[in-house]
Amino acid sequence: MSAPEAPVISVRGLTKRYGDKTVVDKVDLQVMRGQIYGFLGPNGSGKTTTIRMLCGLLVPDAGEGTCLGHDIRTESWAIKQRVGYMTQKFSFYEDLTIRENLDFVARLYGLPDRRAKVAAALERLGLAERRNQLAGALSGGWKQRLALAACILHQPDLLLLDEPTAGVDPKARRAFWDEIHELSAAGMTVLVSTHYMDEAERCHRIAYLAYGKLMAHGTVAEVVAGAGLSTWHVSGPDRRIAELARTLSGLKGVEMVAPFGATLHVSGADAAALDTAVQPFQADAALAWRRGEPTLEDAFIHLMDSATDNYHPDAPR
């Protein structure tokens, strides 16, 4: 982290309430220039709401901060000029063609050389042949590409991507992420929300949100380590594994039991309690036990289970 540079996003205590539900609860966030910052969390955890507050679409109920050096409460006009926001739900005009949509965006930002820029964007995203197709007639994956093309058209300094690859095939997803890494290498900062673990692992930093609260943030390794999980990997005959999974889950010290093919991942935050719980089964010759590394997914599930659902404050999940 180059020390003197000011963060692109810097917010403290960001809070949003709908009625008496606090859907974003005192979130602090710092994103440095050129970073790809992953934003993770279960459905309804407040990712979209947080992103909307960052670009001035929602006014926070509490908290303050800056985005690209501009106050998120009072200077959203300036923020909008330099941010590209890709919404979770496709929100370009389905009754306009791809090219007309891009033209509209280019005109709104007052881009010089509009035609050339739109043509280049179409070319780069492989949409050139489909430029006269109505956006509404595109498949989901192509819509995503159009949306990305449209929000990088004005070469923003900050990209806010809300689940940009939901429903996109693996090859297109790979291409999408390669593109994001290129943009980031060129100095663009990217905040991207996702539910995919492999995508989280391609981020420089990640933040994990559950029920509106920021549960963890840092590099992937830091977040995994921070969860403090110990994990055993057990392999053996399918039926024994299935039986073991049933027996183990619910034992004291065992928080997660998840089969991955022929291997069972058994984890818990309290290492001693976990070892005590599994000890009786380690004698079984049919099973091979070894210490494993917890995955990011294990860490997230642990974080989610230890978070309190703000809708049911007295029922810890």
Partner: protein, 379 residues
């Protein structure tokens, strides 16, 4: 610092987008051209402005050659169809009230004798003028009919009565509607109602459609000012409004021979102000409505009083004070005065000013309110 003022480039962006979307929306487009034509044909042809064979009651209190000749001539004129014979004035009143007859003719006691004496007796004709177009022509023809029926009988010693301007005094009571409008009112008035209806409905969907289709979030995330969105969305409809006007005026000329006495430029000023005023109302609705259904409901809520209280359906001066007060607040009221004034009475811009400035005031208020209502966030 980035300037926050109105940008012409961004306005163009919105206008171009709206034009394309309008062109692609075939149904809406067809409606905008179809509604004026349909209404014109309905009002112009299907709704006959020179109806004949109107049911007529006769209350004959004197029977003689003159009254028989008059009644026969009325029947022959095809305007009147003598359907009932009434026994009393009260019965006549009841029939008119119920609408079973359009006219009632009363031949008073001593009609024949007084006519022959040269006393010029009165022949009383009561008309249900609720719909003035229904009775207007028949009433106009009546004088001729009566004259024509009586004259041939004035022979011999009675010939001396002939040079008198009229042997019979025709007393016509127009009931329910003393103002008696002519059908020239209809086509110019129709222009106002058609514009009110289509302009408000179309623009009331402007923002609600963005919201319902989910494109609002994107629009708000991009740097575009409320005035740019508003003007950009209204401009294409000014064009649509003017096309509708051309269709209506063309038809008024070719099919119904409505005269155009005044200056076209004055009419254009009035039309433009009126169209923009309606667009502003529609846009205001679209910033308030949560969905397209609500937008439509608001449009009709505005459209109904416009139809009823502007002087389009009923003569303005015939309405009670409170209704006139509401009418004065509606743009259609003022526009009707402008368009009738210019087309039929050749009013100048100065003549129409008393009705132009209320339109301008209305327009400004609606635009101001719409901008106040326009939310730049999703909250």
């Amino acid at each position: 610092m980035i300037k926050r003022r109105f940008s012409f480039g961004r306005l163009v962006a919105v206008v171009v987008k709206e034009f394309i979307q309008m062109r692609r929306d075939r149904l809406t487009f067809a409606m905008m051209v179809g509604i004026p034509i349909m209404q014109l044909l309905l009002f112009g042809y299907a709704i006959n402005s020179d109806p004949r064979h109107l049911p007529t009651a006769v209350l004959s209190q004197d029977n003689g050659p003159f009254s028989r000749a008059i009644l026969a001539a009325m029947q022959n004129s095809t305007y009147f169809r003598l359907t009932v014979t009434a026994e009393s004035v009260a019965e006549v009143d009841r029939m008119l009230d119920r609408g079973t007859v359009q006219f009632a003719v009363e031949i008073p006691v001593g009609f024949e004798r007084r006519l022959m004496r040269g006393d010029i007796p009165a022949l009383l004709v009561m008309a249900d003028a609720t719909d003035p177009a229904a009775t207007g022509n028949a009433v106009l023809a009546l004088q001729q009919i009566v004259q024509g029926a009586v004259a041939p009988l004035l022979t011999g010693p009675l010939e001396a009565l002939l040079p008198a301007p009229q042997p019979v005094e025709l007393r016509i009571h127009r009931r329910y509607n003393p103002e008696g409008l002519t059908q020239y009112n209809i086509v110019p008035g129709l222009m106002g109602t058609i514009l009110t209806m289509t302009m408000i409905i179309m623009t009331s969907l402007a923002m609600t459609r963005e919201r319902e289709r989910g494109t609002m979030e994107n629009l708000l995330a991009m740097p575009v000012r409320p005035t740019e969105v508003m003007v950009g969305k209204l401009v294409p409809f000014i064009g649509v409004g003017l096309v509708q006007v051309a269709v209506i005026l063309g038809a008024a000329r070719l099919l119904f021979h409505v005269p155009m006495e005044g200056n076209a430029a004055v009419l254009a000023v009035g039309l433009t102000v009126f169209i923009v005023a309606n667009l502003a109302v529609g846009f205001l609705f679209s910033t308030v409505a949560q969905n397209q259904l609500q937008a439509m409901q608001m449009s009709f809520f505005f459209f109904l009083p416009s139809m009823l209280m502007s002087g389009f359906m009923f003569p303005f001066r015939g309405m009670p004070g409170w209704a006139q007060a509401i009418g004065e607040a509606l743009p259609l009221t003022h526009f009707l005065r402008v368009v009738r004034g210019v087309m039929l009475k050749a009013n100048s811009l100065a003549d129409t000013w008393p009705d132009i400035w209320p339109l301008l005031a209305f327009l400004t208020a609606a635009l101001g309110l719409a901008l106040l209502r326009y939310r730049q966030t999703l909250d």
